[in-house]
């Protein structure tokens, strides 16, 4: 409760400090660039958790945060969530918490309470949440337990301080042990998804909308698609199988083992398709596209990167610390990226260029001029395909020579390209069409009217999948070319990707 006293404004507040364990060693091991990226991820995760638990960031000092909370229990829960989330990127922090009166001026906090919290942090072991006895006494909520860590004298502070290690026991989102052993492979995967995504939920503030009844062997209840989420559709059955809330998702790409999702708040999230574990990675700039290949995500940062003159491609492996920056000659303005045909391919809508990145040397090795304002690129059927926004054309490019070997005219401004079933599929969000082009001859075969503002597109096992801006995921039969809405969404569907039997899509607000 707020109160006012005398000339200085004091309030009862809970102060929480965090500090990255062995940061110097990490920095030395990773080098400046990668360490900076890792710290950016750390900051993004901590801030996300702070928002979730209503904490207030007061300051960052190098590798740590000074934060305040209205309620001590919220601070402990937040600390636990931060520790668990950072574990996903192999970072460990220690946490110190104290509750007391502090001077709060503007956004700043000062006073003895801050010093006590700081000294408590000094005593905390890696991965530990150490709190003072004051915190223990005023903490309510049965989901937190305390272990005695003894009485300490804090340097520069009077009195002795009794401290405790706090542990949070979050309510179960799902209980994997309850899954039926008779489930099919498909269903036996679901609990794992739920649990690991619950871990991801801790990482990113996500909540898995998977009903407990299903996990305990009951009938699967209906799932609800929510805005700002990633959805999973089972291809054989067209059934929605998971919804993963994720802040402001945009691009998406997938390979056999990973689904990679971009967020507008400069995060890349890797979802392990086997376990469902979600791991966030902070990005050093705003992403403009993502592709999957060679066991990695190739993230296009075409809107500018702090400290860089031009844009870059950031290659991120499944081990989130496996990162590499690949500078692009025409980096700024790069609009789309694709992987395949022995390269990662970047088109630039400002410089009207195509760049090939060698997947082995990871250098940008070839650059070619293409048509007017390339907006989309795909690789497959022995070629690289580029759709031009203003020129309204699709170019077929030889991946070895970078020469144009074919061209098709588009009627509407293109949005995205997919390759599949011997054909090239081009969406137009403003034209409400999917154009079908023969990959061998570049002959235009058909134009499918999809009055849902089609954006993202991907080729699946037996269908083409389309994400639509008017809130729908559609499947297009590659033979009959019939388009059917499989899933309606409460917000724009922006991206879609296919991994094995599953279709993954992003839903925005």
């Amino acid at each position: 409760m707020l109160r006012r006293g005398g000339t200085s404004q004091r309030r009862l507040t809970t102060v929480l400090f965090t500090d990255i364990v062995a940061s110097t060693e990490h920095a030395a091991r990773l080098g400046d660039h990668r360490w900076r990226d890792l710290v950016a991820t750390h900051h993004a995760i901590v801030r996300e958790r702070l928002r979730h638990f209503h904490g207030h960031e007061v300051d960052t000092a190098g590798d740590g945060f000074l934060t305040t909370f209205e309620q001590p229990v919220a601070a402990i829960r937040c600390a636990a969530a931060i520790i668990e989330a950072l574990a996903a990127i192999d970072l460990q922090v220690r946490v110190g918490i104290h509750t007391g009166e502090a001077e709060v001026t503007g956004g700043k906090v000062s006073g003895m309470t801050v010093h006590v919290a700081s000294r408590t942090l000094d005593e905390a072991a890696p991965g530990e949440i150490l709190v003072t006895s004051t915190v223990r006494e005023v903490t309510s909520g049965g989901d937190v337990t305390f272990s005695d860590r003894g009485v300490h004298r804090f340097k520069g502070l009077p009195d002795e301080w009794h401290v405790f290690a706090a542990t949070w026991h979050p309510p179960d989102v799902a209980t994997p042990s309850a899954a039926s052993g008779e489930d099919t492979a498909r269903r036996s995967r679901s609990p794992a998804l739920a649990v690991s995504v619950a871990a991801g939920a801790l990482a990113l503030g996500l909540v898995v909308v998977v009903a407990a009844a299903w996990l305990t062997g009951g009938a699967p209840p209906a799932l609800a698609v929510v805005p700002d989420s990633v959805v999973t559709i089972d291809q054989p059955t067209d059934r929605l199988t998971a919804v993963l809330p994720l802040s402001m998702p945009t691009g998406i790409a997938a390979d056999d083992s990973s689904v990679w999702v971009l967020s507008q708040d400069d995060l890349l999230t890797r979802i392990d398709t086997a376990s469902g574990a979600a791991t966030p990675v902070g990005l050093p700039g705003s992403p403009s596209g993502v592709a999957a290949g060679d066991g990695a995500a190739w993230v296009l940062l075409g809107y500018g990167v702090a400290g860089e003159r031009g844009g870059v491609v950031l290659r991120v492996g499944t081990d989130s610390q496996d990162r590499e920056r690949i500078p692009l000659e025409d980096g700024n303005g790069a609009t789309a990226i694709a992987y395949g045909e022995d390269g990662a391919w970047v088109v630039n809508g400002v410089y009207d260029s195509l760049t090939r990145i060698d997947p082995v040397t990871r250098d940008a090795v070839d650059v070619a001029q293409v048509g007017w304002q390339p907006v989309a690129v795909a690789a497959g059927e022995g070629a690289v395909w580029i759709a031009h926004g203003l020129e309204r054309s699709l170019w077929r490019i030889d991946p070895d020579t970078l020469e144009k070997t074919g061209e098709a005219t588009l009627t509407d401004p293109p949005t995205a390209i997919a390759i599949g079933f011997g054909r090239v599929w081009v969406t137009s969000s403003t034209g409400n069409t999917v154009v079908v082009i023969d990959a061998a001859t570049t002959t235009r075969l058909a134009t499918i009217l999809v009055e849902q503002s089609p954006r993202g597109i991907a080729a699946g096992a037996d269908a083409i999948w389309v994400a639509c801006g008017r809130g729908a995921f559609m499947r297009v039969d590659p033979v009959s070319l019939e388009a059917t809405t499989v899933l309606s969404a409460p917000g724009p569907a922006d991206g879609v990707a296919v991994s094995g039997d599953e279709v993954w899509g992003t839903v925005q607000t």
Binding site: S286, Y303, N332, R470
Partner: protein, 642 residues
């Protein structure tokens, strides 16, 4: 000064629209240097109390500042000043769509339904927008029994487009509503593109797809105007016959209302109607609107029970009010500097006095070149100017870090949701300019015959640079930098009317380079900035509104007709046309790419600073919000010690 006087102060009525657009006293962004603001929870115990705001009279300016005496004050259809915009969004008038009144990083650039029940339903061709209105919402007293219905928005649009107001409002962003032009011209009795099939459904037909049309509905134009219970036939409801002064007796739809609203006698003719007691010379008082239900409004926490705005004579008086504890917020909704740099620094150095807060304002200032006048018809010259300019010095001249920050591109970051926040293709150490890079670029120009990095053509001598007050010092600073490349500028300082209605409006004058232009949008979409460059005059049939001194998009025929020797200039019409129909994030990315294209392939300007807003709060303030949309403090988001 009366509103009409204020409008007529411009030589031509339409002129103010240009001012509104290019001077841009609206909008703002998160402040990277600011102390972290405390986002209070909706259920915060901090609700209550009286928020005491002080505004210094001496710091105001002719356009856009705080003037409670002006007839346009709080008139949601007429006045786009930061004062009216800020007070309306936070407190007095909800709109169909809006934002949460916070910074971009706190979701402040994400459009949300306000009086609309949800996102619009858009037809596949993008031409028909169907908007459901939240049922059961009522106006504040004295119309607490009147429900807000779809027809009230039609009333607002029709007042906005009224032929009698056409010279004082800036309508181009909404001109694609079918029939709006005919109605505004007086050739149609109604706007044919507006329908209300029932009380809770508004259907808008557009003549061309506008992907960000919902963003455009977040402007104050869509603050509903209630019907006049005494005269239900009145087209403009209680605003009937009130081309000016309506804001003084407007009825609230927001969490607050002007004190004394309940006493408004609507039975009296407009000319005899007394203003709310809440508006008095030197004082504006807001109290809670009893009709407002927080359950229907997630965008406004409305912490304080009462907001008292007091106008004092001087900045010193205003600062003293903070120091002595008689005011909680020093509010100065005008062009920066909003508080003197020394005051800002003094508060930063002594937190016991209170908090000094700065935030980005979505206004970008630039030096703009005419691409049809040599040597600026050469892109290498234009790029060289970007490399050589000492942007930090211009920021210092503007008032230092509390007034501005260096910038690397043209669209204010808030308008593209921070996508381009790290984008600066001509970044130099300390933003002080890079002479070596500039000369290397100049050496590639056809106007540097010997390749020494200096322009040696006669067209680089005595080049006219036109500016206006208060930009003369900035112009001279830039000229000093450009001279290092052999470009010799003759600076002409013109008065504001000549600057906006002749120099930058009449292509026949062939002004080579201009200092004193700033860009921003009227909402949080980038279209308001970039659509302007869709041809010199294609935005409107009135060339003086285009404010496109670059000549970008002009046809050879147009250029020849205006007497230019250069008849081939870059054109981004198709790129603009590509972006406009796109929706949501799709459009956002498109505008961001166009900004990059302009910065790297066209380079018609040297953007150098983005404005900042500074505010002071007393130690009594425990929560503070900054509104991205209106570029000013969100008064509804300020919480106080009990």
């Amino acid at each position: 000064m009366k509103t009409n006087d204020r409008w007529s102060a411009a030589r031509r009525g339409a002129g103010l629209r240009v001012l509104v657009m290019v001077i841009g006293l609206l909008a703002a962004l998160p402040g990277p240097l600011d102390a972290a603001a405390e986002p209070p929870e909706a259920s915060s115990p901090a609700s209550g109390g009286t928020l005491r705001v002080v505004v210094p009279r001496e710091a105001q300016e002719p356009f856009g500042g705080f003037d409670e005496r002006a007839d346009a004050f709080l008139d949601s259809q007429l006045d786009t000043s930061r004062t009216t915009h800020g007070l309306t969004r936070c407190c007095l008038g909800r709109t169909l769509y809006s934002y949460n009144g916070r910074r971009t990083a706190e979701g402040g650039s994400h459009l949300q339904p306000d009086l609309a029940a949800g996102p619009p339903d858009v037809s596949p061709d993008g031409l028909t927008w169907t908007i459901a209105i939240k049922p059961g919402l009522h106006y504040g007293p004295p119309l607490q029994d009147v429900e807000i219905t779809a027809g009230d928005f039609v009333r607002s649009f029709e007042r906005f487009f009224a032929p009698t107001l056409r010279d004082v409002v800036f309508t181009f962003e909404l001109m694609d509503i079918e029939g709006a032009a005919a109605y505004q011209a007086g050739t149609a009795a109604t706007i044919s593109g507006l329908e209300t099939p029932d009380d809770h459904t508004l259907v808008v037909h557009l003549s061309a797809p506008q992907g960000d049309f919902a963003e455009r509905l977040a402007t104050l134009v869509t603050v509903p105007i209630p019907p006049d219970p005494e005269h239900p036939e009145a087209r403009f409801g209680i605003a009937e016959e009130a081309d000016s002064g309506y804001g003084r007796f407007a009825v609230s739809s927001g969490p607050y209302m002007l004190d004394g609203s309940a006493s408004l006698d609507l039975s009296r003719p407009v000319s005899e109607r007394a203003a709310h007691a809440g508006i008095a010379p030197g004082r504006v008082t807001l109290v809670r609107n009893p009709s407002w239900d927080p359950a229907t409004d997630p965008l406004r926490p409305a912490y304080a029970d009462r907001i008292e705005i007091t106008v004092v004579d001087t900045m010193d008086d205003a600062v003293a009010a903070i120091d002595t504890g008689t005011a909680d917020l020093l509010w100065n909704p005008r062009t920066p500097p909003t508080i003197p740099a020394e005051v800002y620094e003094a508060f930063r150095a002594d937190p016991a006095r209170g908090a000094a807060r700065i935030d980005r304002v979505a206004v970008v200032r630039a030096i703009v070149m005419n691409l049809a006048v040599p040597p600026f018809d050469d892109i290498h010259v234009r790029k060289a100017l970007n490399w050589v300019l000492d942007k930090q010095r211009l920021v210092d001249l503007q008032g230092g870090r509390s007034a501005a920050q260096p910038v690397g591109h043209i669209v204010p970051d808030a308008l593209v949701d921070d996508l381009l926040i790290d984008y600066d293709p001509y970044a130099t150490p300390g933003q002080r300019g890079d002479l070596a890079a500039a000369r290397a670029e100049m050496a590639r120009s056809r106007y540097d015959s010997d390749g020494d990095g200096l322009c040696d053509a006669t067209v680089c001598q005595h080049v006219r640079m036109v500016t206006r007050e208060p930009f003369e010092e900035a112009a001279r600073s830039a000229a000093e930098d450009f001279a290092k490349l052999g470009i010799d500028l003759d600076i002409e300082v013109h008065d504001i009317n000549a600057f906006f209605f002749e120099d930058t409006a009449d292509p026949r004058l062939k002004v080579p380079i201009v200092a004193g232009i700033a860009w921003h949008g009227l909402n949080l979409g980038a279209s308001g900035v970039l659509m302007i460059f869709d041809g010199v005059s294609s935005v409107t049939t009135e060339p003086d509104l285009a404010a496109n001194v670059t000549m970008m998009g002009a046809t050879p025929q147009e250029l020849g007709g205006w007497g230019y020797d250069v008849v081939d200039v870059p054109n981004v019409d198709a790129r603009v046309g590509d972006c406009v129909p796109r929706m949501g994030a799709d459009q956002l990315r498109c505008w961001a790419s166009l900004d990059q294209y302009l910065m790297e392939r066209v380079v018609p300007w040297v953007p150098y600073s983005q404005d900042r807003n500074a505010a002071l709060t007393s130690p009594r303030v425990i929560a503070y919000g900054y509104d991205e949309l209106t570029s000013t403090t969100s008064l509804d988001q300020i919480a106080l010690w009990e």
